[in-house]
Symmetry: C2
Subunit: 206 residues, 2 copies
DNA sequence: CGATGGATTGCACTGAGTGCAAGTGGTGCC
DNA sequence: GGCACCACTTGCACTCAGTGCAATCCATCG
């Protein structure tokens, strides 16, 4: 009980992560209540019971409080991906992404709701998505893909996620999201395997 | 000489656009000289010979001065796309994009140079790319693609642009960029037509 | 118990971004 | 020409995001 764990189960868990989550939670609640622009960092820090300065020990910016991944999230996604290594890049990638988004569905739904009211926040969301791209690209390269195909595959997968997310009504619940996402992945796989048909029918692959 | 032109050749040309270009030019020069963070908006406005307040009449933010498209650019890209309508979505899209990036190569190169020194600016660049996505997606839908395939195709094309841009040495000149971009587009078309091979060889399309 | 180091906090400061109201200059209309 | 109109510019004042610094608090380890 007293000995240090040989391998910390979740490296960033602890008081710090708790504070991080309290801050994010406060931020999400306030954004949902009043709108992003109407919430100051003092408000967030106040509701989370920490000082304004502490907010900036955890987040680089106000938007980060809404869009940054959980401190453990990168590692979790990475291990999900690792579990699916070797069984086909596309299958592994999409399975891991789906698991991941299901596990995070509460936060994902909160983001969707807030974005629905304030579309201009989409710019920050796009940036958040780009962080995923780094992880996915990295993993795909480890699976043996060259840099460029890895970029394309990651781009396709993220396009699926994005399209699903944007056309999803958060009030409809997570099941809707999951099934739509699965459809999107399947459509992408089928489309790229057979060539997504285009009007005019020119056979250019896409 | 005195009659108003029936159709304004470029709707946003004029004194306002001139100021816009002077401001962008000043911003690019200063960013290249000192680095993004070391340049204030007063600096930019000063060099462009306008007031600080006027800067904000033209740009929403400091980053916008570097990454916003030229006021005429959207229209220009749209008309390039229009020229290539009907001849196959992928071909038209990539041709228009290539033309467009060649025409803009000075600014593109400047951005590349500045990003090389300050990678953290990439977040803004990603946002700028996302604006393209809107235009491309719109055009693809007009070509008869459903929302989702349109998203995927646009995502692939932008992945090509992004990968080419990021792996390009701006000092090498625009020809390098163009030929790399063309290669990337060809690779994407071939890869998606035949299925990008993955290690393990599972036949999942990607 | 005392030392050590990470995290929190308060304070002060720079600079981004905005609202407002007062110029300023050009354009067309009488 | 004179005048009204309009779009753009400018200065001013203000809020608030974000940062550096130094003091403090607290948990853990020896």
């Amino acid at each position: 009980m007293s000995s240090a764990p040989v391998v910390p189960a979740a490296p960033t868990d602890g008081a710090k992560t708790d504070r991080w989550r309290r801050l994010r939670s406060a931020a999400i609640d306030l954004f949902a209540e009043r709108g992003f622009a109407e919430v100051s960092i003092d408000d967030i820090a106040g509701r989370a019971g920490v000082s304004r300065r502490t907010f900036f020990n955890h987040f680089d910016s106000k938007a980060a409080a809404l869009f940054d991944p959980d401190p453990t999230e990168q590692a979790v996604l990475a291990s999900r991906l690792a579990e699916h290594a070797g069984g086909g890049a596309w299958t592994g990638l999409t399975t891991a992404l789906e698991e991941h988004l299901v596990a995070e569905h509460r936060v994902v739904a909160a983001r969707r709701q807030i974005l629905a009211n304030e579309p201009e926040l989409d710019r920050h969301h796009v940036v958040a998505n780009a962080k995923f791209e780094v992880v996915l690209h990295q993993w795909l390269r480890e699976q043996g893909l060259a840099p460029f195909p890895a970029r394309v595959v990651a781009g396709i997968a993220l396009a699926c996620v994005r399209e699903t997310f944007m056309s999803w009504d958060a009030a409809a619940g997570p099941e809707e999201f999951t099934s739509s996402l699965r459809d999107a992945f399947a459509l992408a796989a089928a489309g790229t395997a057979t060539g997504i048909s285009v009007s005019g029918g020119a056979s250019v692959g896409l």
